[in-house]
């Protein structure tokens, strides 16, 4: 590419619409240097030239998805010395999957577990509801229905990602991360992560087109999937604020502008609806609309300062991580949380503020109560999966090194997952 073209491209991309200058010059310089190299993804609202080729996307997504499941099946089959499909899905269903299994079969508990006070009120309803519908419609077992729901969502996520990502390599990297990568078994078994990633991606895709009514409806589903899904409301607000400032209007006039725009107003009112409907249900069921939050006490989650929790986790325990028999590894969780925060910071550098703020809140909120489960929360953040895949795809060399490494790294994790290693929970 000629240098004049590159300069024009930078000029067009960053300065055409008189964006407010929010960044210190050094950060902007780093960003522009990377952009001149043609290796950095722009904001999510950039048009995708790859997305129009659904068949091309299918030729990447489908084979990788199918291969990944064969791969998982082979690894778990060899490990368990049992290649039956029942063994495969049973060996994948660990920890919280068992809670979803109970919910898909029996709904929400009236009384908690007598010994530890835990109850399934902590788990949001959309995913088990979908699995329950699949179960009834196709007369499947609860576990099969959960597995089908997760895998269908994971497959659909690949197609939504194809609409967002700009090139073939990035889509391949995304699919490898999602289907083969470390902890990818969360997207293959009875966990809410697949649906959460799918809905998050769909929200940001639609938000990038500023289709606020659609994003409000999708965000309502997201907030019925996991509690932090409600933070999409903040992402919508930030996207609207970005547009408002781009038009040269003052921040003081923003509240009025929101009220005057029925689409944005609708999106902001609708996005948290999933959470509030669940709260209403909990009130009718138990008499406590905040039961989903109160029951966290039984998992030792109580409010704290996230940075303190993160630093303590990084500095305590050993680096044996999840390999220690029966011991929960705080440091393993903390490393994932740190990686997620670094990638979130990178989103900020790229000025992808809606995605950055959503990711930040989705990490910080659970981190403010406990370090537990952070690997799952980190891997289940769609904007981070997107940026990681774009980074991997930015160099041929990193593609060649990262993708096999990602696939290989999942093998021991998968084996440990099957053996119910506590640190992976």
């Amino acid at each position: 590419m000629a240098s004049t073209d590159i300069k024009n491209r930078v000029q067009r991309f960053y300065f055409k619409k008189d964006r407010p200058v929010l960044f210190a010059p050094p950060l902007r310089a780093i960003r522009d240097i990377l952009l001149i190299q043609g290796r950095l993804p722009g904001p999510s609202q950039r048009p995708s030239d790859f997305s129009h080729h659904t068949i091309n996307a299918a030729l990447i997504v489908l084979p990788l998805f199918i291969l990944s499941r064969i791969f998982m099946y082979a690894v778990l089959g060899i490990q368990a010395n049992d290649f039956s499909s029942h063994s495969f899905i049973t060996n994948l269903c660990r920890w919280d999957c068992v809670w979803y299994l109970g919910m898909t079969g029996g709904g929400y508990q009236v009384m908690p577990n007598a010994i530890n006070g835990q109850a399934n009120w902590a788990f949001f309803p959309l995913y088990p509801l979908i699995a329950g519908i699949i179960r009834s419609a196709f007369s499947l077992s609860a576990l099969t229905a959960l597995t089908v729901a997760s895998n269908a969502a994971a497959l659909a996520t690949g197609f939504v990602a194809a609409k967002i990502l700009r090139n073939r390599d990035a889509l391949i990297a995304f699919c490898v991360l999602l289907y083969f990568g470390p902890l990818s078994f969360y997207f293959a078994t009875g966990y809410t992560e697949s649906l959460f990633v799918l809905l998050t991606l769909a929200c940001f895709h639609v938000l990038s087109k500023r289709r606020y009514v659609a994003v409000g409806l999708l965000a309502a589903l997201l907030s019925a999937t996991r509690a932090v899904g409600v933070m999409m409301t903040v992402a919508i607000l930030i996207a609207a604020l970005q547009d408002h400032l781009k038009e040269g209007r003052s921040i003081q006039s923003f509240p009025r502008a929101v009220l005057q725009n029925p689409q944005i107003f609708f999106a902001l009112a609708t996005a948290p609806l999933g959470l509030f409907v669940y709260m209403g249900y909990l009130y009718l069921h138990l008499g406590d609309a905040l039961a989903f939050s109160h029951v966290q006490w039984a998992w030792f989650r109580q409010p704290g300062f996230p940075l303190k929790i993160l630093l303590e986790a990084l500095s305590t325990g050993d680096l044996g991580l999840f390999l220690r028999d029966g011991a929960f590894s705080a440091r393993w969780s903390a490393l994932w949380a740190t990686l997620a925060l670094i990638l979130t910071g990178y989103l900020v550098i790229l000025r992808r503020f809606p995605e950055a703020v959503f990711s930040f809140l989705a990490i910080i909120i659970p981190l403010s109560t406990h370090i537990m489960s952070m690997p799952r929360y980190a891997i289940g953040l769609a904007p981070l999966l997107i940026i990681a895949s774009q980074l991997i795809a930015s160099h041929k060399l990193s593609m060649r090194i990262s993708l096999p490494a990602l696939i290989l790294s999942n093998i021991p994790l998968l084996v440990l997952w099957q053996s119910k290693a506590v640190g992976l929970a």
């Binding site: 007598a114 509030f276 009130y283 138990l286 008499g287 029966g326 011991a327």
Partner: protein, 206 residues
């Protein structure tokens, strides 16, 4: 200024109406969060965190004279008699964990006093004795002093008055919870008080 067609005005009004309805619903639910309609036990455990044990439903029915084993080889449904802080069952029995543990059940309203017997092993770390305060349905009945690491049998007389309706909640309060690590004993990574191997409730001899 943007031209608005009648259709866009209509859809705008519809969106406002729906958004306002949603906001009203969300505010209503938010208001409900201030007034939970829950039992005292629920409130104390989940909301104010003043109770050590979760709320319990009516206990599993128990026939007087039945010995319930709490070892890993026993019927797993025996755990349905346990509430609040117990370890997993091991070959020897099940440890009480942290400060409070309960055994609960429902039985036919007794016509006289009852006697509860337990096969136990006390553990108090470096101390010589573990002390367990035992209460039934909220009434403190006794405090056992258990020599550490010694197996034995403990007995508790339950007056008819505290178990008149047939619901029993026997609470063990461990006064010196201790960790097993380094003791040569195993079965829990939490602080423990005593290992319960079995228990039995029967009519007290008159």
């Amino acid at each position: 200024m943007e031209n608005k067609t009648p259709r866009s005005i209509k859809s705008g009004i519809l969106l406002y109406a729906m958004a306002l309805a949603f906001i009203a619903f969300e505010l209503f639910i938010l208001a409900l969060t201030r007034y939970p309609q829950v039992s005292e036990e629920y409130r104390a455990y989940y909301i104010t965190h003043t109770a050590p044990c979760p709320p319990l439903r009516r206990g599993r029915s128990y026939k007087l004279g039945t010995t319930v084993s709490l070892t890993s080889a026993a019927d797993p449904s025996a755990r349905n008699y346990l509430a609040c802080n117990w370890s997993k069952a091991n070959e020897e029995g099940t440890w009480t964990e942290k400060s409070y543990s309960k055994i609960y059940m429902s039985l036919r309203p007794p016509e006289g006093d009852l006697i509860m017997k337990l096969g136990i092993l006390g553990f108090a770390g470096e101390r010589n004795n573990q002390e367990i305060e035992v209460s039934v349905n909220g009434t403190v009945l006794t405090t056992w002093t258990l020599p550490t690491r010694q197996s034995g049998e403990a007995e508790l007389t339950i007056p008819q008055a505290v178990a008149s309706d047939g619901n029993l909640q026997v609470q063990f309060r461990t006064l010196h919870p201790s960790v097993l690590a380094g003791s040569g004993l195993s079965g829990s990574s939490n602080q423990v008080g005593m290992l319960v191997k079995w228990f039995l409730i029967d009519k007290a001899a008159r």
